[in-house]
């Protein structure tokens, strides 16, 4: 009995402190789980999807089919989809068809009214504004949306197309040009956001129009505190397929 009475104070003090400690421990564990769970949920369910910022688009000066200078600076502030072709190309039909489908699809695409420009850069140094105008006309390009142009100083054609846009082209012995089918999507800051080089189950047209919507959503919503969520989506590689 004496022993029990003597031991009583210490047994009543210690559990009180340890209970408090336990509460803190539980609170910390719950908070940590919430943080980890939120990150996991964000990465798994990807409530926000973005397009990666791949690399810088090249700087250039082009001459369009109206003999006007179009520079990379003129195209800032709008989404630009680039394709590469040339007026006498006999194998570029599928490239032009895709661009034409996108031109038509833009009317109903969910791009929040943001400006989109299509630009086809000729890889043939022989192309003139007149040949490009005839080429654009034959395809049915809308000049308000779609620009056909060649690099102003052909010394830099390779730097712009191959170096900057990473698109292979080469002059063959018979004078024809071998060219890779490539589309490049650039944002308003002049940063490449996606390249379309390989055929997937989903058509390029569908992917590009969807990606334009993803970009438009990011531009419209990533302001204030929401910009942190968009940066998190970039950080956790929540990329739109």
């Amino acid at each position: 009995m004496v022993d029990t009475a003597a031991a009583a104070p210490s047994t009543t003090e210690e559990p009180r402190l340890s209970k408090r400690g336990k509460r803190w421990l539980i609170a910390a564990a719950v908070s940590a789980s919430l943080v980890v769970g939120s990150v996991f949920a964000f990465v798994t369910f990807q409530p926000i999807q973005v397009l990666p910022r791949v690399r810088l688009a090249p700087g250039f000066s082009l001459i369009d089919s109206y003999s006007q200078i179009v520079t990379s600076e003129d195209l800032r502030g709008q989404f630009v989809l680039y394709s590469f072709s040339y007026s006498s190309c006999e194998t570029c039909d599928s490239i032009d068809e895709t661009m034409l489908e996108i031109q038509e699809g833009l009317e109903s695409a969910d791009i929040r009214g943001l400006p989109v420009r299509l630009v086809t850069i000729s890889v043939d140094a022989e192309d003139t504004p007149a040949t490009l105008a005839a080429y654009a006309d034959s395809i049915g390009a809308d000049p308000d949306i779609w620009t056909f142009a060649s690099v102003e100083d052909d010394r830099f054609l390779g730097d712009v197309v191959a170096g900057g846009f990473n698109t292979y082209f080469a002059q063959e012995d018979d004078g024809s040009i071998r060219l890779d089918r490539t589309f490049v999507l650039v944002d308003g800051a002049g940063i490449i956001r996606n390249e379309y080089k390989y055929q997937t189950q989903t058509s390029d047209t569908e992917r590009i129009l969807r990606h334009l919507g993803v970009l438009a959503e990011e531009v419209e919503n990533s302001t204030g505190a929401a910009s942190l969520a968009y940066e998190a989506a970039h950080l956790f590689l929540c990329y739109a397929p």
């Binding site: 810088l56 700087g59 730097d159 940066e231």
Partner: protein, 214 residues
Amino acid sequence: MTDTPIAEEPTPPPSRSPWRYALVALPLVIAGLVFWWGYNRAQPHQFSGAVIQGVSAAPDFTLSSDRGPVSLSDYEGKVVLLYFGYTFCPDVCPTTLFDVAGAVEDLSDDEAEDVQLVFVTIDPARDTAERLGQYVRHFDGRFVGVTGTEEEIGSVATLYGIYYRAGEGTEATGYLMEHTATLLVVDRNGNLKLVIPFGVQSDAMASDIRYMLR
């Protein structure tokens, strides 16, 4: 009656050792510090420019300065700030260089040692290596100015997303250059990571550079 005085006798407050408070307070303070540290670490750094997530190796180049040839790869392990401008530039170039110099000054000596500004002229006809050297060192003695042939400059500028064009005038009468005015930041591994637009103040630049030096 006899019970009352005994009941009113004030009971002495239990003696609480200050150590006991300290034992409770200390873990709380430590937890608070840990939370604050974790919060700051987890907080994504707000860059003042556009971040490029892709591993995009900055194209290497070799151009001439008044102290010999300069290649981007010479500065591997450092954060390199690349700016394309010209010495006759009346406003944008000196403002940017002034801001970069301010940002470098904000850094500690050790940090500043790992940062290099390379100023590439877009006006090789007028900007000699000597003129460039004097011009950039006017802002900071560590800055380097480089030039090359028209083709060399054109290629490098194209690959770095820089557009430029000479305005009306001649070498004798003078002319202005129209050009992209972004500051490009290459990380320690030689990847182009950040594009800072014109107009970012030196303290914001310093914050970005410091983050990239971590």
